[in-house]
């Protein structure tokens, strides 16, 4: 039994590197993993190394099994009883790696650790793909290969030496890998649906809106999407990126419904005005919503469908970056007629909540005389009266709209949109809330527009007889700078003043913009190298009508060429060192003499044998022998070599 668990220090040469490789591949996961997983990993690594160093025994099997069960239960507990997805999956791998260390006894057991380390690298790439992910990936592969290589080096070679060997191997592999990467045919539809970790906390739009619940809105600088326009760019006041539509109000929250494609929706739009053509690269949201400039009239690919609220939605949850193109027009009219049922639906609200607002709306409507005039009155009220735009509004109570309109009078877009929509509904005007983004910053370095999470916005649409649905943004009445110069312009006064700061340095802003341009290229060409980009690239390379067979054949041809080249390079490296020129000349001499030297025969013995076997010019033989010894074993001397050459050329085999 003691033999089975004993260690003998034989892994000291390779184990630290295996553990290092594993640690390096787990490092990017640490911020997402539960703390106990990291602690388990670190303590198991330290324990394993110490056991090897001290030649102690490994923990007994029952303890390892008990630990494994415990860890498995802990993962189920940490991840709400699921083990699928990147989060629980990487936690499980990390724990498996930690426990496997405790039973790694012989050299070969480390393969499991290295394979786990490779899977961890892959999991971190599934989780996030930043600009630095590629260098990280290369470094991680290099470290893993070094650890791997050290397992099959019998002698204890220096780390530098193994590092050099593995870098060389990676260098040989890189061109082949590049050819594979470029030519491996990409497919657009996934084989199976992808569970992606939702705990990583990426900000997106929430699918309902309850103004008053949150008391502060964080300004996330994360990019929501990037837009490249073909031609004209809309002015800031027209940059309304329509997302989802909410139309059900319960007195506090607005909710929408699951996106349902409506094939007839497109026909309800009659649009005029300038057409904007653009491509959007949307960051993953894990939702279905597609954002398009108000209002999209044409779009591709096919997987994007329009719903009855004229929202666009993707067939699958968007859990990876996608790219789509669309055409939008800014002047339009939708649904000039509304059915009685639809009218009812868009004017519904709970009577018992927010009574003051409802009362106020009815009074104003009666005074205004027409719907248009009523709307103008409300907008003017928001603009003229003491309403403030703030990202830190007070929390609101049971009747949030009442409290907001008549007491606190502070809020951001959601508060204004919600209050406005209710005021409309109370006056019998159909209204709904639109969530999306407003604004966008043009990046001069990349010639594209960046729309950030902080540009998230809520506005309203009201239906007027004969004119159909019209966009009205009540926030614009309160904080026109929010609309005109974007979120940063609107907010800077408030935040900067409260922190006693000046505007951020211009160079920092420029730096951010150029980094973003780099990122956009990276996203488009490296991360977004999908079927479309591949086809474009193949055409650029001169492949007519690229299809997967052609690409595959090219791939195979290139890989074969690469392997042949590498095999030649390896063969050249394996050549023996060049023979001593003196030895070469001496070889000529023995061939001339017609008597092959025996193994281990000294030149003197050979000369003796030569003289005995046949009548040779013995002085010639002696001269060759002595000059050979001088040229081969004497001090390095060009002259000696020349003399030897002369002697050999003068030597003639006598008959």
């Amino acid at each position: 039994m003691s033999r089975r668990n004993g260690t003998d220090g034989s892994l000291l040469a390779s184990l630290p590197y295996t553990l290092g490789a594993l640690a390096f591949s787990i490092a990017p996961h640490v911020q997402y993993l539960p703390v106990w997983v990291t602690v388990t990993f670190l303590s198991c690594s330290a324990a394993r190394w110490y056991i090897e160093k001290r030649r102690w025994r490994l923990p007994p099997a029952w303890l390892r099994i008990a630990l494994a069960m415990l860890c498995f239960l802990a993962i189920l507990f940490s991840y709400n009883q699921t083990i699928s997805g990147v989060g629980p999956g990487s936690a499980l791998l990390a724990v498996m790696g930690s426990l496997k260390m405790l039973e790694t006894r012989v050299r070969r057991d480390q393969f499991v650790l290295l394979f786990i380390s490779i899977f961890m690298i892959m999991a971190s790439l599934l989780r996030e793909q930043y600009l630095w992910s590629l260098p990280y990936l290369l470094a991680a592969v290099l470290i893993t290969m070094t650890a791997w290589l050290r397992m099959s080096q019998a002698r204890d070679v220096s780390l530098l030496h193994s590092l050099r060997s593995s870098s060389r191997l990676l260098l040989y592999a890189a061109p082949i890998a590049l050819a594979m990467w470029i030519f491996f045919p990409r497919i657009s539809t996934p084989f199976w649906s992808v569970p992606i970790d939702t705990s990583s906390g990426r900000s997106g739009l929430s699918e309902n809106m309850s103004p008053g619940d949150i008391s502060s809105l964080s300004l996330s600088d994360a990019v929501a999407f990037r837009v490249t326009f073909d031609g004209a760019v809309p002015p800031p006041s027209q940059r309304y990126w329509r997302g989802l539509v909410l139309h059900q109000f319960n007195g506090r929250s607005w909710t929408g419904r699951e996106p349902l494609p409506d094939p007839k929706a497109r026909d309800r739009i009659s649009a005029t005005g300038d057409a904007y053509r653009y491509q959007v690269t949307l960051e993953p949201t894990r939702q279905h919503w597609i954002f398009a400039l108000d209002i999209p009239v044409d779009w591709s690919p096919e997987t994007i469908k329009m719903g009855s609220d004229l929202h666009l939605a993707y067939t699958f949850p968007i859990d990876q970056r996608i790219r789509y193109s669309a055409v939008s027009r800014t002047r339009y009219s939708v649904d000039s007629q509304l059915t009685r049922m639809a009218r009812d639906w868009y004017t519904r609200f709970p009577e018992e909540r927010n009574p003051r607002s409802i009362e106020y709306a009815r009074e104003l409507r009666a005074a205004a005389g027409s719907d248009e005039r009523y709307i103008n009155t409300v907008i003017r009220a928001f603009h003229d009266e003491e309403y403030f735009y703030t990202l830190q509004p007070p929390v609101l109570g049971r009747d949030p709209v009442d409290q907001f309109l008549f007491q606190t009078r502070r809020g951001f877009c959601e508060h204004y949109a919600s209050a406005f929509a209710l005021l409309m509904r109370a006056a019998g005007i159909p209204s709904r809330i639109v969530l999306g983004y407003q604004g966008g910053e043009l990046n001069p370095y990349g010639n594209h527009m960046i729309v950030r999470q902080s540009d998230a916005h809520a506005w309203t649409e009201v239906w007027l007889a004969d004119r159909g649905w019209q966009r009205i943004d009540p926030t614009a009445a309160v904080a026109p700078e929010r609309i005109e110069s974007g979120m940063s312009g609107a907010m800077f006064g408030e935040i900067g003043a409260s922190w006693g700061l000046n505007a951020p340095a211009e160079w920092l802003h420029q730096l951010t913009l150029s980094l973003d341009a780099l990122n956009a290229r990276w996203n488009e060409w490296i991360l977004g190298y999908g079927p479309e980009n591949q086809e474009r690239f193949m055409k650029w390379l001169g492949m007519s009508k690229p299809d997967w067979q052609k690409m595959f054949l090219t791939l195979i041809a290139l890989v074969t060429i690469g392997i042949v080249v590498i095999s030649i390079v390896l063969m050249r490296r394996n050549r023996p060192p060049p023979r001593d020129p003196a030895a070469v000349l001496y070889g000529q001499f023995t061939r001339k003499a017609g008597l092959p030297p025996r193994t281990g025969e000294t030149p003197f013995d050979y000369a003796q044998r030569l003289r005995e076997t046949s009548v040779q010019q013995s002085d010639c033989v002696d001269r060759v022998t002595s000059r050979y010894l001088k040229a081969r074993y004497g001090t390095p001397d060009e002259h000696a070599l020349q003399e030897l050459e002369d002697a050999v050329s003068k030597f003639r085999r006598s008959a």
């Binding site: 990936l137 791997w148 497919i187 490296i526 392997i563």
Partner: protein, 341 residues
Amino acid sequence: MSSIQWQFPRLPGVLNPTRLREAAQERVGRWAQKRQGKDPRNTRLLSKRIYILPTGIGLIFALMTFAMLLGSMNYNNNLSFVLTFLLISAGLVSMHQCQRNLVGLEISFAGVDPVFAGQSAEFRIAVTNHARTRRYNIQLYFGRIRSDIDDLEPGESRVFHLDLPTTARGQVSLPRFGIRTLFPFELFRAWAWLHMDLQGLVYPRPADHAPLPPPTETAHGHRQHDARGEEDFAGLRKFHSGDSPRQVAWKAFARSGDLLSKQFSGADTSSQWFDLRQVEAADFETRLSILTRWIVDAERTHADYGLRLISDEIPPANGAAHRHQCLEALALIDFDSGSLS
């Protein structure tokens, strides 16, 4: 309470996996020998005789990269494509490195010492790396017998040992052996077979319980002398290794070229004669074992001893060479020729 033990049903000989594998190895070995012919005792490995196949770990690695490829395709994740393709290409490169790791090695037989039956015969095989690069993870093997694993520096020559167990006296033969490497990632195993047809000598096993050796005879002599008597020249006989150079008839050698030893009579030497016929034991092999034991013990006391076999005899002497001569005779004696009376 008795625990029930379920036994794996005995397979008939043909289906026994171990036997099947050994039979297959034997066949493949013979095929390789036929293909390559007999190798000289000093052979340079050329690439055409190096075979390569993935290892178990290589197959697991292939499965793993395939799964990673499917995953990358599904997630359309270009960075994990990078990782996957990098690993696949590294695997392909490692295949070539693995094969290259053996090409050009020089393998030469460096001898085997005689052993007693039951001991392991240690075949020494030198492997020389003539290249400017290191060679890693080199191992020699024959069946289940493995040498150490070692690396070779550029220009280095290292002797590997193959310890073949022996059971009976005679020759132990190493008809072929393999040299293999798993470098760099153990994904592939490259190997080559060498058919040098090496032979080692196996002395009989010294008997554990031998009867006492026959008494010491002191011929003509008056006193015990540990050197050979050199008084009266009696004649010449063929030189046996182990004879003292002083005993060699150098003049005769100069004349004829044959090495002869001078024999002296009347030496006052104490000497023992170990006679095969006079050993009291049931069978032939036991007699040989007893003789072996006597020789080993006599050599230890530096006493002179001679050996009489059926038709041969080795005159009394001592020393390592003499011991070897006697033991070799015992090792190679043919049973059928020994009609023991």
